[in-house]
Symmetry: C2
Subunit: 330 residues, 2 copies
């Protein structure tokens, strides 16, 4: 495949050698929507497929204000100090609205950003969750090809981005701030059900008692959820951490490793990755079918003509749609 | 078209004559997903197109607990007593989960349900918003063909159902309960921006002062929103109502009529309906394309084969998707 893409042929071996500049270039490539870039990106991911190894993919979700950047800095540094290579990717479908990415916070992770064995990549600006999704999946694959041990995929606690991130991760972590017991309901049940680990941050100083209470509340709530087959005893669990003092970070990492090991040993890791891959295949086909409606000039013209008839009341939306679907089949 | 559907040929004239039993039968037909029923439904909507007249379509959104059933009963009775025919359709994509429709509450509207000039239809059970959408649009068209003056489309305040309902209505009403000022933020900005009228219910007895404050809060919030071209001066507006005492109901109806008249006179009514029709055409085409993936046996087999290859790691999700899209084109 790389025959047709000199760029992919140049980047692939460099990425496999762990070259961060080549990796950054490749991520930029997969973020692009230009057709020639897309072709290069496809050639590149195809060239890298099967090379490199599986990283531990950790999804991290938390609303603004829970201290996510500080946590990632502390957590990432702990991994780096343990001799691991760690990549951080951000997913924030809303970031284009605020004009900047959450990891424009790269500055708020200045220690980690300066580590040679770390790679930090802010969220691409796109209003389109489908686009962000594909780019993130490809970026994860690139990081794995580049030999990273851990890929941390960060997302803000809004909308569908958690579900999307959970469907590309081996472990899903929910980061929360200490709160009164009645705020527990603020976390959507759907998100709690995805969590493997709930970490209550800011468990230090004055907030420590509140954090302890919050951990107990969530531990109680987790026990009420149905037991999932992919969980060993004791999981999902809630733990206090402090990104500032570092308390609990090592323990949380130990739990993530234990969970990952158990899932590998019991077949859940491979099964989950296979299911995820099939899911993304289907999502891509759907996305591609819909994209054709917008991109193919002939299809667009046919759509516009019929939309006009519909707007003028000459035909019902449904009859026009049925006609259009026939046209597309032919 | 009705040549091919004896059922449609039978129902069409009866519906046009305002026969409620025929209407109920037709709504059941459009709710069905059976292919033969779909064909009948299409023939029927096509036969009825251009007949009947435009009803005033009012979307009504409100979370459980705001007294929606009681409000609809009071509002509907006021319309009936003014000599109008009113249809009530419920849209609740979540209702299949709880096992029952919100308008299983037909019993909670027992006066309205017994009126010969009223038609009440609970939400169909479907987990699929696309299906609920099509059925609701077709049911609205049926009610218009049956000569109803007002079609009230009720939805619960969750997820995407408001947006969907707003896109098939002439006027969108948000029903709220009295609340402390700090709860204002609980209403999503997106929903507020769709509202033409915010009604604060339960403005009676002990809750009256709280309702008055809530109205003032929302009136203030509405003033902060950008002025929309489709609004005359003074709209969108917030008003107190009481479904129990009837206070404010006549005034709210007067405001809805004034708004509808202004929009008709200034071209916004027709423009909105044309835009909505074009929107639903496009939505139907998208929906139909995706449905083909699931229904066409040959397509399904091709999808399953590739999904297996993807799950086994023999090909990336994206390469398999690209191949599948080529296959679909051929």
């Amino acid at each position: 495949m790389t025959d047709t893409s000199p760029l992919a042929a140049d980047l692939a071996p460099r990425i496999l050698a762990g070259d961060r500049r080549a990796l950054a270039r490749a991520v930029t490539l997969v973020e692009s929507t230009r057709p020639d870039h897309r072709a290069d990106a496809t050639a590149l991911t195809e060239a890298l497929r099967g090379h490199g190894r599986q990283a531990l993919r950790i999804g991290l979700s938390g609303t603004p204000g829970v201290g996510k950047s500080t946590f990632i800095e502390a957590f990432g540094m702990a991994l780096v100090e343990a001799g691991l290579r760690v990549a951080v990717l951000a997913v924030d479908p809303s970031s284009s609205r605020s004009g900047g990415s959450i990891l424009g916070d790269k500055t708020r992770m200045d220690r980690l950003a300066r580590e040679p064995s770390a790679f930090i990549r802010p969220s691409p600006s796109s209003t389109h969750l489908g686009g962000v999704t594909r780019r993130t999946r490809e970026a994860v694959a690139l990081c794995e090809a580049a030999g990273f041990d851990v890929v941390l995929i960060e997302t803000v606690g809004v909308g569908q981005s958690e579900t999307m991130v959970a469907q590309m991760c081996d472990i899903f972590v929910l980061l929360l701030a200490p709160a009164g017991g009645d705020e527990l309901q603020g976390v959507k049940r759907g998100i709690m059900e995805m969590a493997d680990l709930i970490l209550v941050n800011k468990s230090d100083g004055d907030l420590k008692p509140a954090a302890t209470r919050t951990v107990a509340d969530y531990a109680g709530a987790l026990r009420l959820l149905r037991k999932r087959p992919q969980d060993p005893d004791g999981f999902p669990k809630a733990l206090p951490v402090s990104a500032v003092t570092g308390d609990g970070i090592a323990g949380a990492w130990g739990d993530m490793q234990a969970l990952a090991r158990w899932r590998r040993d019991h077949g859940w890791w491979d099964r989950a990755r296979a299911t995820q891959a099939a899911h993304w295949f289907e999502a891509e086909v759907r996305e591609g079918l819909l994209a054709r409606l917008k991109r193919d000039p002939e299809v667009r013209r046919a759509m516009e003509d019929r939309a006009e008839d519909v707007a003028a009341g000459r035909v019902t939306p449904d009859a026009a749609a049925a006609e259009m679907l026939e046209w597309l089949k032919a």
